[in-house]
């Protein structure tokens, strides 16, 4: 009996070692790859009661219920309360794509000041959430598309990033056809129309194939739209001199200098501006932009001179203090971004930053005001003159080819102090100087109102006649 017992104990020991090895080396790696929630450090991110609920097989259920609760907060406009729920839901169930997509949109778009300007300090957080969502749900196009869309539509800068995410989305087989068009648009913004053409050709082939298989009206419309986009693109590439400048034949035969392309000669936008601090934290921006009666929006940025990861006309959106999903943006830093709408070749806009002290704390001593225009974001009728990279655009004072490599942009920067912004000291409202910053070429327009109500002056000369 003793011998049998010893044998059995030996068998038990062998089985114990076997199960340990099997689990550690064969089962757990596969579980981690396929079935783990992939939350990283769940324990460090949840409260004890939440850990209890989440770890005992309850996490997806709890996430679903919490997300319902978040819907209620959305309805009430209590956006701040939604943030922790988004984080909790993504930790509990990182496979719920809806939470990531809605959360990203919410963070990037819904935190605004009294004039509906987004709090852009949150955008790195939205991007961080998008990156996390992509990592946890790399089987679907959705998070890649949403992150790409945030770059493309909200940030409107660093276009290679938009292209990267949209290309990643494109690799996923579940991407909707209608959404694939956005990748073409991203290629345009990235200054790469040939890739957009190739994308359209691919979409056209697929649309044609779909129409042959299912000859329905929507499928015919889909095909026609792609073909129209392709036609337009090819015409624009020809008229803007893209083929002349970028094909071997065009370059060898010197087409661009020989023929009259729309982007020739470069058009002087003649940007000028005067910024007046009319009241504490209230600015009036007036100036000129000699480009058509409508169709231009000039980006204006007011930010700390030493803004973390700041760069000309923007910031490093993926860097800085908010590279992880932290919902509280760093306090004490200021970043305002808006657009100056040009009408009848001038603009006049009041920027009131006095009503949102949490967004615009003006805690630092030095600030910069920046004005920026890139043809990459221009509508097609203006791009026809300026080209995708600004080859048809110039500005006697503010043309810049350094801040965005490969692009000719308008960039104007002004330094401004806290005293000027706050109207303190020598700039006091009680008898002090009125802070005024202006470019040397500024000329008074005589209009002191926002031009929104003005009639469009159609007698303004078109771009080509210049």
């Amino acid at each position: 009996m003793k011998t049998t017992n010893k044998s059995l104990l030996g068998v038990v020991a062998a089985l114990a070692v076997g199960q340990g090895l099997l689990h550690h080396n064969a089962i757990y790696p596969q579980w981690e790859q396929n079935y783990a929630p992939k939350t990283g450090n769940v324990v460090g991110s949840l409260a004890p009661d939440q850990i209890f609920l989440s770890l005992f097989g309850f996490r997806e259920f709890l996430a679903g219920i919490l997300w319902v609760k978040a819907d209620g907060f959305f309805e009430d406009g209590n956006y701040d309360a939604v943030l922790p729920i988004i984080r909790l839901c993504t930790l509990l169930d990182p496979k719920q794509v809806d939470i990531y997509t809605t959360g990203m949109w919410h963070i990037a778009y819904n935190f605004t000041d009294e004039d509906n300007r987004s709090d852009r300090r949150y955008i790195p957080v939205a991007l961080a959430l998008g990156r996390e969502g992509c990592k946890n749900n790399d089987y679907t196009y959705e998070l890649f598309f949403e992150t790409g869309w945030t770059w493309f539509h909200k940030i409107q800068d660093d276009f290679p990033k938009a292209v990267y995410y949209l290309e990643e989305a494109r690799k996923r087989p579940d991407m909707l056809n209608a959404r694939k068009n956005v990748l073409s648009q991203a290629y345009f913004r990235n200054g790469d129309p040939m890739k957009a053409v190739n994308e359209y050709l691919d979409l056209e082939a697929k649309a044609e194939d779909l129409y042959i298989r299912e000859p329905t009206f929507p499928n015919s419309q889909n095909r026609d739209t792609v073909q129209k986009n392709l036609d337009n693109t090819l015409v624009r590439m020809a008229q803007r001199g893209w083929f002349a400048q970028n094909t071997d034949q065009g370059k060898s035969e010197n087409w661009f200098s020989k023929y009259a392309y729309d982007t020739k000669p470069a058009f002087d936008t003649n940007f000028s501006i005067k910024v007046t601090v009319v009241e504490p934290n209230v600015f009036r921006c007036e100036g000129t932009w000699d480009v058509l009666p409508v169709g231009t929006r000039i980006r204006v940025i007011l930010k700390d001179a030493d803004y973390p990861n700041g760069r000309p006309a923007g910031m490093d959106w993926e860097g800085g203090p908010n590279t992880t999903v932290q919902f509280e943006p760093p306090k004490g830093i200021t970043y305002m971004q808006d657009e100056l709408y040009v009408k009848n070749r001038r603009f006049n806009k009041k920027l009131d930053l006095s009503r949102d002290p949490t967004m615009y704390s003006f805690a630092k001593d030095k600030y910069v005001l920046e004005f920026y225009y890139t043809p990459r974001l221009a509508p097609a009728h203006i791009q026809d003159k300026f080209g995708w990279n600004g080859e048809g655009m110039t500005d006697s004072l503010f043309l810049n080819t350094a801040i965005r490599p490969g692009q000719r942009v308008m960039y104007c920067k002004m330094d401004i102090s806290k005293d000027m912004i706050r109207r303190r000291g020598e700039f006091s409202m009680q008898g002090g100087k009125t802070p005024v910053l202006k470019t040397p070429n500024y000329r008074e327009t005589g209009i002191t109102k926002d031009p929104d109500g003005e009639v469009i002056d159609i007698n303004i000369a078109p771009l080509r006649s210049k």
């Binding site: 017992n5 059995l8 104990l9 068998v11 038990v12 089985l15 114990a16 076997g18 199960q19 340990g20 099997l22 689990h23 550690h24 064969a26 089962i27 757990y28 596969q30 579980w31 981690e32 790859q33 396929n34 079935y35 783990a36 929630p37 939350t39 990283g40 450090n41 769940v42 324990v43 460090g44 770890l55 005992f56 097989g57 309850f58 997806e60 259920f61 996430a63 679903g64 219920i65 997300w67 319902v68 819907d71 169930d93 496979k95 719920q96 794509v97 809806d98 749900n137 089987y139 679907t140 579940d174």
Partner: protein, 262 residues
Amino acid sequence: MGAISAIARTTLGEAIRRKVLLIIMLIGILFLSVIPAFSVLSAKSELTTMISAMFFVLRYTSALIAIVLTVYMLPNEIERRTIYTILSKPVQRWQFLLGKYLGAIFALGLMIGMMSFLMITMFYLFQHPEASKMFELARQALLYFVEMSLLTAVAMFFSTFVSPLVNFFISIGLWLVGTLLNPLYESISKNNEMAPVLKSIFSFVFSLLPNFANYDTKNPIINPGQAIQNETIYYLKITGYGFLYIGILLILGILIFDRREV
């Protein structure tokens, strides 16, 4: 083999007549029946909430049945002295234990089967899913059955030397810990601030304890679209793991029961 089969059949008969087990199962069935009604309250994620809640009820009810069924099995035989009439016949103790275990597994399988059938039926009635989805649900229910068989072996092992009440708490505690092992290990292995020695200790414990978390594969069912690699191989591995661990526990149980005074 005949003795084992006879004991298993008797155990199965006893189990399905035990009111407490039937009540637990009926409560589970009641919950499974009402879940679809609650899931409509969950905007945009009805499917997630419904499947998640159904699996939750199925898993926890099954665990409770497995533990309650097993913890009283041996002690009752000893207390009522019915074990003497069995062991006085040409029946070895190991045959008795194995028969009891198999009987418990059959009873458990029957109850899990009934609850799973109801769950899949309710799911079909409310969601009209594709056949593949129903198959996924059935497969997860089957994995829970393997998990509960392991849990039954745990309770059976402890029932050879501890009282039913103590066994109840040990088994349920071990199961709860076992369901946490993988997520905890994942968190700890990614925690760079933890001392390496603590990580090693946890790794040892992780390899030693029965790991019930392996059987919870519902995430891809709840969030469809994920590409699961080598799915079948994984299911075979965890089933093999379950059999290995059940073997360990039964052999240890037999060794202890063999030396026990009854």
